[in-house]
């Protein structure tokens, strides 16, 4: 019996192709049901706070805006990928093949988004990136639209700003993975272009528990400032050790991207963060009526949890999807949805934002903020704004 099986299987193969063809034919027929959005987030694992924030924001968006758009009922299918890329990929594939979702959304980290890009292309399903921030992502498929941020966007803003603040010599210290390298490269480029000098570029392994030796190098190099990017969650340890090593007293300034002073964790990090200057697209204390409403509704719905940048990215992601459904009258296929998403512009809780029609990447104001205590809580207080920053990396090399 066992010996027969191998001969049976090639026949199974041709049947498989047949099956596949049948399924492919049956796909468009499903288009009249609910408009399904496959939301893939890291709800477990080290990046779970990202997933938690975005999930809460998506729920909030739907409770504010209802689940009927252009006559279609919108349904979100939430799946956990635990921050593991091959799971993301399989889940995305299942959502497309089994659940016939019209849009894929979420993607907490760069590799997770990258792993799904070929599926978006192959299945012609729009993919709304709500968190991952490496520049290159949107170039990997014509169906990718990003509503979060890119690291070149914020770090080059910081580079330009810092050079104008009497900061001449800088050491950069980034987490050693894609986004970190992006941040390092674009900060350095902008900073040098504005006349600054980068003394040293340190890369810290992601799994590294102890920043001490790296900080010691910073001390020994004696720069005016140290530019930092760590994924949110690692920022706290870093700042602790920065202070503990007495770097604040040596006059070395701490500047970084908004990830380091994540709104969600800022209060737990404590007063050591006071005075840290970061560049980022969103602060929970952003002064606008849209943001006030957003923050209070978010807190009310989530037991007082403060929304961070991830929440806004997710909220805006839903905004883009809803707008696209409206503009296509609920009948658009993937290509049509992406077409109307390109060039979309709206007032987000973070300020005015738009999707660049050419790159499908977000265009937004980037703020320079300083951590301060306001009304008993710590906030990233915005004090300077770079208007409508595009991702500088698309079509360029650092």
């Amino acid at each position: 019996m066992i010996r027969m099986l191998p001969r049976l299987i090639p026949r199974g193969l041709s049947a498989a192709v047949l099956c596949g063809a049948l399924l492919a034919v049956s796909l468009p027929a499903a288009a009249q049901e609910a408009f399904k959005i496959g939301l893939i987030l890291p709800l477990t694992g080290p990046s779970q706070s990202t997933g938690k924030q975005i999930n809460a924001a998506v729920k909030l968006f739907m409770s504010v805006n209802g689940d009927m758009v252009a006559g279609r009922k919108v349904e979100v299918i939430l799946r956990d990928d635990a921050g593991v890329a091959d799971t993301t990929r399989r889940v995305a594939q299942e959502l497309v093949v089994k659940d016939h979702v019209a849009v894929l959304a979420g993607f907490g980290l760069t590799p997770l988004a990258l792993s799904v890009a070929p599926i978006a292309t192959q299945a012609k399903v729009p993919m709304v990136v709500m968190a991952a921030a490496t520049s290159v992502i949107t170039e990997k498929s014509p169906f990718i639209v990003r509503t979060s941020q890119t690291l070149p966007q914020v770090s080059s803003t910081m580079g330009t700003w810092a050079a104008g603040q009497n900061i001449r010599k800088v050491v950069t210290l980034v987490a050693d993975y894609g986004p970190g390298l992006d941040a390092e490269a674009w900060f350095n480029k902008a900073f040098k272009a504005a006349g600054g000098e980068v003394l040293d570029s340190l890369r810290v392994p992601l799994a590294n528990p102890d920043f001490a030796p790296f900080l010691q190098r910073v001390v020994d190099t004696r720069p005016d400032a140290v530019f930092v990017f760590t994924p949110s969650g690692f920022g706290a340890v870093f700042i602790k050790q920065f202070i503990e090593r007495g770097l604040d007293k040596t006059g070395i300034k701490l500047i970084g991207t908004g990830d380091v002073t994540d709104d969600d964790q800022l209060n737990d990090m404590g007063d050591v963060t006071l005075g840290v200057v970061t560049a980022g697209p969103y602060s929970a204390s952003h002064a606008s009526p849209e943001n006030k409403a957003f923050v209070s509704a978010f807190k009310a719905a989530n037991a007082g949890m403060r929304p961070n940048f991830m929440a806004v990215f997710g909220y805006d992601g839903m905004q883009v999807i809803y707008d696209a459904i409206k503009k296509t009258g609920g009948k658009g296929d993937g290509a049509a949805l992406v077409a109307v998403m390109q060039g979309a512009a709206w007032e987000s809780p973070r300020g005015p934002v738009a999707i660049d029609p050419a790159t499908r990447d977000i265009v937004q104001d980037v703020y320079i903020r300083k951590v301060a205590r306001v009304g008993g809580e710590l906030f990233n207080e915005e004090f300077a704004t770079m208007k409508q920053v595009r991702d500088p990396a698309h079509g360029a090399t650092p």
């Binding site: 810290v204 030796p213 010691q216 503990e244």
Partner: protein, 285 residues
């Protein structure tokens, strides 16, 4: 660079206090306990809750962290661990990995997954120069506390009545039983003290290493390296191994940041190939 050496020693001391219990349980009960880091995590969280939420002074919280972890250790030893001593190493590995997973998600459930910190008294956050070497007060504090603990442990094992029973039980449990030593009691007390020390280490280290639910997995390898390299016979081996590890890790990251992550593993593999029983291990068991 003396500051690096100093940091490395502080780091190593911390590792020693956290891992020494593991070395004794391995030597004594021939138990491979990958869940040791969970006790360190317990101590860390107890301190965080006591200091940050209940306003207990930091110095009062440290002994409480020790006691709490020791009690948890004792309870688990009596109810669960006692059943796995005679099982195969594979089963011990599985069992303790299971405990780690449960501890991690238990903490995530009750306290959340974000990183937490202990609010230290102000004078411990200072920094000063000693003979031109820049030294952090907290690291100095850690070195002093851990140094005293290491000395006390060495004394306890070498000189006290309990220590001699412990050594007898490690050498040969069967003979020790024959001599009228209550080996079970020795096991339980040792396990509890080992867990308590891990907890104390966790409490001290929370500030330096960062504390979150993935703590037991993140540092598991480090603990195991201390034990595997140091050998499980006595206190000297693990102490030397921990100090080596701390200094190698810190200076590796300072001087060779590109290869920092490799150094400790390569070092360990080399040591284990050279001496499979560890630097100070007995030839055979």
């Amino acid at each position: 660079m003396l500051t690096n050496l100093f940091d490395g020693v502080a780091y190593g001391m911390l590792l020693f206090v956290m891992a020494c219990g593991l070395s004794v349980t391995l030597g004594l009960m021939n138990l491979i306990n990958l869940a040791h880091g969970a006790f360190a995590m317990a101590g860390g969280y107890v301190t965080v809750i006591l200091v940050n939420r209940l306003g207990v002074p930091f110095f009062a919280a440290l002994p409480l962290a020790f006691v709490a972890s020791a009690l948890i250790g004792l309870a688990l030893e009596r109810t669960l661990y006692v059943h796995v001593y005679r099982k195969s190493h594979l089963e011990q590995v599985l069992f303790s990995i299971g405990l780690v997973f449960m501890a991690m998600s238990g903490v995530t459930y009750t306290l959340g997954s974000q990183q937490v910190f202990v609010h230290l008294p102000a004078f411990l956050s200072q920094r000063f120069d000693v003979f031109g070497v820049s030294v952090g007060a907290y690291r100095l504090f850690i070195i002093v506390v851990c140094g005293v603990l290491a000395a006390a442990l060495q004394f306890a094992v070498a000189r006290t009545r309990f220590g001699s029973r412990l050594r007898a039980a490690v050498d040969d449990p069967v003979v020790a039983r024959g001599l009228g030593i209550n080996v079970n009691l020795v096991f339980a007390v040792t396990f509890a003290v080992g867990s308590g020390l891990a907890g104390l280490g966790g409490a001290l280290g929370a500030e330096l290493l960062g504390l979150d639910p993935s703590f037991p997995v993140k540092f598991m390898v480090y603990f195991l390296i201390v034990v595997a390299v140091g050998g499980s016979a006595g206190m000297t081996g693990p102490l030397v191994a921990a100090l080596l590890l701390g200094v190698a890790d810190v200076s590796g990251k300072y001087y060779l940041p590109q290869f920092g992550a490799f150094i400790i593993y390569v070092l360990m593999i080399v040591v284990l190939l050279w001496r499979p029983q560890g630097l100070f291990g007995r030839a055979a068991r």
